[in-house]
Symmetry: C2
């Protein structure tokens, strides 16, 4: 095994063993490099790999720190995977999201506080107001859509589940979905589905919430795979 891979594993293990704890500051580069018996540039490459995994974080002039290591943080590299597979695998990612989001929405039905139900209602109102305009601001709709879904899933009681869903459709995918909705009717249908989910949550009805959430994502899936209007059909 290479020196760098070795250093990466050593640092990882030190974290797993609790020698370095979340939020803790690591020794200075020179010191840590000597401790591991490697050159400073080599250590930097190892550190850089761990930064990419969101395990470490550096602040120039200050030091290198272990991140919070929260699932949400560590799993957010997944959105890049979703983005890079825009061409072929979008449907597969959405399928996973459908399975998880249906379940998370059902779980949230029993847990979401009344306050946040009010917020959801306001998000819906805002989105519907936006969609009624002659010039639809798709960027704003994407943001509202993201807020709506993540507010719900954040109350499913499982941080890992919420994080996976969040990253399952990356920002690029989500933006593309809404951008593809040139048909005003599709926008209306999507908003109606959102409201159906909202009503099920209001009624604290987990089963209805699950079904409406699944239906909603399924509608998105079909609008993407059904109508090949995205210019990617040329590749196998």
């Amino acid at each position: 095994m290479g020196v760098i891979e070795n250093a990466i594993d050593t640092i990882k293990q030190m974290i797993i063993d609790g020698e370095f704890r979340p939020g803790q500051k690591l020794p200075v580069e020179k010191g840590l490099a000597e401790q591991l018996g490697i050159a400073r540039s080599t250590l930097r490459e190892a550190v850089r790999a761990l930064i990419a995994m969101r395990v470490l974080q550096t602040r120039q002039g200050d030091g290198t720190y272990v991140t919070s290591l929260s699932p949400a943080l560590l799993l957010d590299g997944m959105s890049f995977v979703a983005d890079i597979h825009l061409h072929a695998g979008t449907g597969e990612f959405l399928h996973v999201r459908r399975i998880l989001e249906a379940e998370a929405t059902a779980l949230a039905a029993a847990r979401i506080p009344d306050d946040d139900l009010v917020v959801l209602g306001k998000l819906l109102d805002e989105a519907e107001g936006l969609a009624a305009q002659s010039e639809i601001d798709h960027g704003q709709l994407v943001a509202l859509d993201q807020d709506f879904h993540s507010l719900i899933t954040s109350h499913c009681g499982n941080a890992v589940l919420a994080a996976v869903i969040q990253n399952m459709s990356g920002r690029t995918v989500r933006a593309r979905i809404w951008r593809g909705m040139t048909d005003p009717e599709a926008v209306q249908r999507t908003l109606a589905e959102h409201r159906a989910v909202y009503r099920a949550l209001l009624a604290r009805d987990a089963d209805r919430a699950r079904i409406h959430a699944a239906m909603h994502v399924l509608g998105v899936e079909e609008s993407l795979t059904g109508s090949r209007s995205f210019g990617d059909a040329d590749r196998e």
Copy 2:
């Protein structure tokens, strides 16, 4: 934004744009560094980050290549996330796995070829033979368990779904589950659940397969969260 982050994004974008395709060889380090206007060591740190994401791969003496970029490859960094959260978040990961594996098993009921059903049966026979010994080889059981589950989920018809499940319970988690089964009765129960899933698949009964798969993972969840026999209860 830092020079390195810039380089990482540039290379990513070149891949997304198709300038660098899967399997393709990148320019030599010195050349690419000059092209991006950065020093070679800086480029190496960027490349190292992309290697950690499984986007690039280097072969000393040969060159740097773009990987296949398959979802299975890109998502396999997730298992590290699962491993690092052994202490607190195991239950949450298993919950996600339960949701996904139930669905994947149901999907596989209609798709798994007869040949692989035969293989599944053999895996079960082997595991049961192993469990009947006086000295149980837990390592071997873990391997068979992994083969059993991944053979099923690989036939769910969705590579992303299969990859996420595969990584949802990392090797460390899985090993720990089996190691925790000091009670021979628990081993027998687990094997019985495996066989129930197998029978449902044989009958091509998606609903039964889904329920038995969910039941199986749930049993594992409860054996972990119910009996705090893993020495991690000292941390909050």
